[in-house]
């Protein structure tokens, strides 16, 4: 029962799309895969894709879990702005980068707890609950920066955004390590299964003795922490906290990445790896447009087309249609029960 073949099967569509996107990159820019090592740092378009994709990749780690519980978190972009602002103002006040990082994580964690509280305890619909922070968040971030773009020159903090570790840009390292860590934890502990159970059938899960409330809060907390890291990276990259624009609309990109990763918005089975591939797909498409010299405006149109394609593929109607086509074929599949599991209910 090795999990490896099933994982490969699960992420195959994402791998194919990613390969296609990368191929397009090569077509418009033949040297795309060329990677140089200069001044102790790796350079290359591929590295850029991995590096630029870091914020969305970080966000989609948490977002995948939130969506698996049948939730959604609209506030991550605003939380990025808040934590970026907190980190910046901490170093501006003369503290070290470690303190700044901790403060930013604390701020993000608090935001996550707030969302988790609204969703798990007050039982407010996730989309509504996280809207509050989405609206107010940028105001809070501006409150922290006092409306300015708060620039800083703390080397340690800047390293988080534009530095390298063993030649590899730090943001890549951060999202890869965090992604691997969270994947490892949820899959090696029982967390992943319990989260999926809540997303699929919360009633049954509760009856089986799962503490859904605590799990929900944890998931939103993790999302807040991921957003905080993303916020720090973005701030460090531009050496300043821009409360207005940091992470603007990235919540939508993160949700998109999760959806491209084949995770259902209705909750249930999830794959963080597939979501991360989704984030890379988005970034590769950005890269194609950039390298081809096409106006960057096309980016949005392509994203829209991508969503529509996925919508059509994922739609239950489409599933039924495919089933019908298959069922009219010569040999009836043993999947007959899959088509209409509902109907069994009233035997």
């Amino acid at each position: 029962m090795g999990p490896k073949p099933s994982l490969l099967k699960r992420i195959l569509p994402q791998l194919i799309i990613l390969a296609a996107a990368l191929l397009l990159n090569v077509i418009v820019f033949p040297d795309f895969f060329q990677i140089d090592f200069r001044n102790g740092r790796l350079f290359g378009n591929l590295i850029d894709v991995l590096n630029r994709g870091a914020p969305v990749a970080l966000l989609c780690i948490g977002m995948t879990l939130v969506i698996a519980t049948k939730g959604i978190d609209l506030s991550v972009g605003a939380v990025m702005a808040i934590s970026g602002a907190v980190a910046a103002s901490t170093v501006v006040e003369g503290h070290g980068w470690g303190t700044a990082l901790l403060a930013a994580l604390l701020a993000g964690g608090l935001c996550g707890l707030w969302n988790g509280f609204l969703v798990a305890v007050l039982r407010i619909q996730p989309i509504v609950a996280t809207l509050v922070l989405m609206v107010a968040g940028r105001g809070i971030a501006q409150l922290v920066t006092e409306g300015k773009i708060l620039t800083f020159s703390n080397e340690g903090l800047i390293q988080l955004g534009s530095g390298t570790v063993f030649g590899l840009p730090t943001p890549i390292l951060i999202w890869v390590v965090l992604g691997a860590l969270v994947t490892f934890v949820v899959r090696r502990s029982a967390l992943g299964m319990l989260i999926e159970a809540i997303g699929i059938n919360e009633r049954s899960s509760r009856l089986a003795g799962i503490n859904s409330r605590v799990l929900l809060v944890c998931v939103y907390l993790l999302t807040g922490l991921c957003a905080a890291l993303a916020g720090v990276i973005v701030a460090a990259d531009i050496k300043g906290a821009d409360a207005n624009n940091a992470g603007l609309w990235l919540e939508l990109d993160a949700i998109l990445a999760v959806v491209i990763g084949g995770n259902s918005l209705l909750g249930g089975r999830f794959s963080i790896v597939a979501s991360l591939l989704g984030a890379l797909i988005i970034q590769s498409i950005n890269s194609v447009i950039l390298l081809s010299g096409m106006p960057p405006e096309f980016n949005l149109v392509i994203k829209a087309a991508l969503i529509l394609t996925i919508l059509v593929i994922q739609s239950p109607r489409m599933g039924n249609l495919i089933y019908l086509i298959r069922a009219t074929g010569p040999q009836p599949q043993p999947e007959a029960t899959r088509a209409r599991p509902k109907k069994e209910a009233t035997q």
Binding site: I72, L122, R123, I124, Q125, I127, V128, A129, L131, V132, L133, M134, V135, A136, G137, R138, G139, I140, A141, Q142, L143, E146, G147, A243, L248, L252, I255, L256, V259, L265, L266, P295, P296, E297, F298, N299, L300, V301, I302, K303, A304, A305, I307, L308, L311, V312, Q314, S315, P316, R317, M318
Partner: protein
């Protein structure tokens, strides 16, 4: 007797009156007709879009695309008026038809593909914004004498100028109120918001209504775009980013339940005015920073969400009590 469903609307009204009284107390100048006229003019485009959003939210959906549609409309008008000799009225008709069809297409996708409105209108948001970019990335000024004529129209009261676009917004709200509360379509919108399954069983044409709702929202976003182009005399593809959020906030602060089924178009009007008041107050104050707008609006949003949650709990508790009473009745029976 005050009906429980009217309570959020009353709270909105109360909030508005209180806010306005506080403003007037702090800055008596804010009570002037001029401020009221400006309030209507400055919030005209967002008010019009919010009417459409109210219908969408009443039906239990959401529309993230309206900000992009407004921007698209502005750019489209600017480009058409620059590059062709079409009369603006013809351009208006074309763009309204386009945006209405666009909304209808989103509605159809939501209904026929059975996908969440959130993600479908997200695609619509990208598509409309992308289309605006494709038309022009720069701000395109609109110079047409008909525009000047329209912008020059106003109704003068006490030295304050009530401009055309404010009037359009008020008319849109009146039309919205009539459609929501006095037509079959409006009833079907509420029915969908009350429960799609029950509505279907009761014979509501779900497909038609869903498509109609998003078409209406798209069309009103188009109208809002026209008004916005009159307001700014330009079309810019980067404009009105995030207007959908403001519209959603106005709808919720206006007392409409975000999960659908309960609310009033008139409430949205006061929601818009409350948000406008906050901004005006901050301008008058001069020392307060603009970001307080967002924080206060976020706070109000939270307060209204809590209020509605509280009302729901209260009615559930009442239902529980009623049930308890029944149970004792049963005991006596047996």
């Amino acid at each position: 007797m005050i009906r429980a469903t009217h309570l959020p609307l009353l709270v909105t009204l109360g909030t508005f009156v209180l806010a306005y009284a506080l403003c007037g107390y702090a800055y008596p100048a804010m009570l002037s007709t001029r401020v009221i006229a400006n309030l209507l003019t400055d919030n005209a485009f967002i008010g019009i879009a919010a009417v459409g959003m109210t219908f969408v939210i009443l039906s239990g959906g959401i529309d993230l695309s309206i900000g992009s549609i407004i921007a698209f409309t502005g750019v489209f008008l600017a480009v058409i008026l620059r590059d062709t000799s079409l009369h603006p009225l013809v351009a208006f008709a074309i763009v309204l038809a386009l945006t209405t069809c666009f909304g209808a297409a989103m509605g159809a996708t939501i209904h026929y593909l059975e996908m969440p409105p959130f993600i479908v209108t997200l695609a619509g948001m990208f598509l409309a914004r992308g289309a605006a970019y494709v038309l022009s990335t720069e701000s395109v000024p609109i110079t047409h004498e008909f525009y000047d004529t329209l912008q020059g129209l106003y109704w003068k009261v006490d030295g304050a100028r009530f401009r055309l676009i404010g009037g359009v917004m008020v008319l849109t709200f009146i039309a919205g109120i009539l459609i929501a509360h006095r037509t079959r379509f409006g009833q079907n919108v509420y029915a969908l918001g009350g429960g799609e399954q029950a509505a279907k069983l009761m014979g509501v044409p779900v497909a038609q209504t869903t498509i109609g709702i998003y078409a209406l929202s798209g069309g009103l976003a188009g109208l809002s775009g026209i008004v916005f182009s009159l307001y700014t005399s330009a079309g810019y593809s980067l404009a009105t980013v995030g207007v959908e959020l403001d519209a959603i906030a106005a709808v919720v602060i206006g007392g409409t339940l975000l999960t659908g089924g309960y609310g009033f178009v008139a409430g949205t009007f006061f929601g818009i005015l409350i948000m406008g008041l906050i901004q005006t107050y901050i301008v008058f104050d001069g020392t307060l920073s603009s970001w307080w707008t967002k924080i206060v609006i976020g706070g109000l949003l939270f307060a209204f969400i809590l209020l509605q949650k509280g009302l729901m709990w209260a009615t559930q508790a009442k239902a529980g009590q009623a049930k308890r009473k029944k149970a004792t009745g049963f005991a006596a029976h047996s």
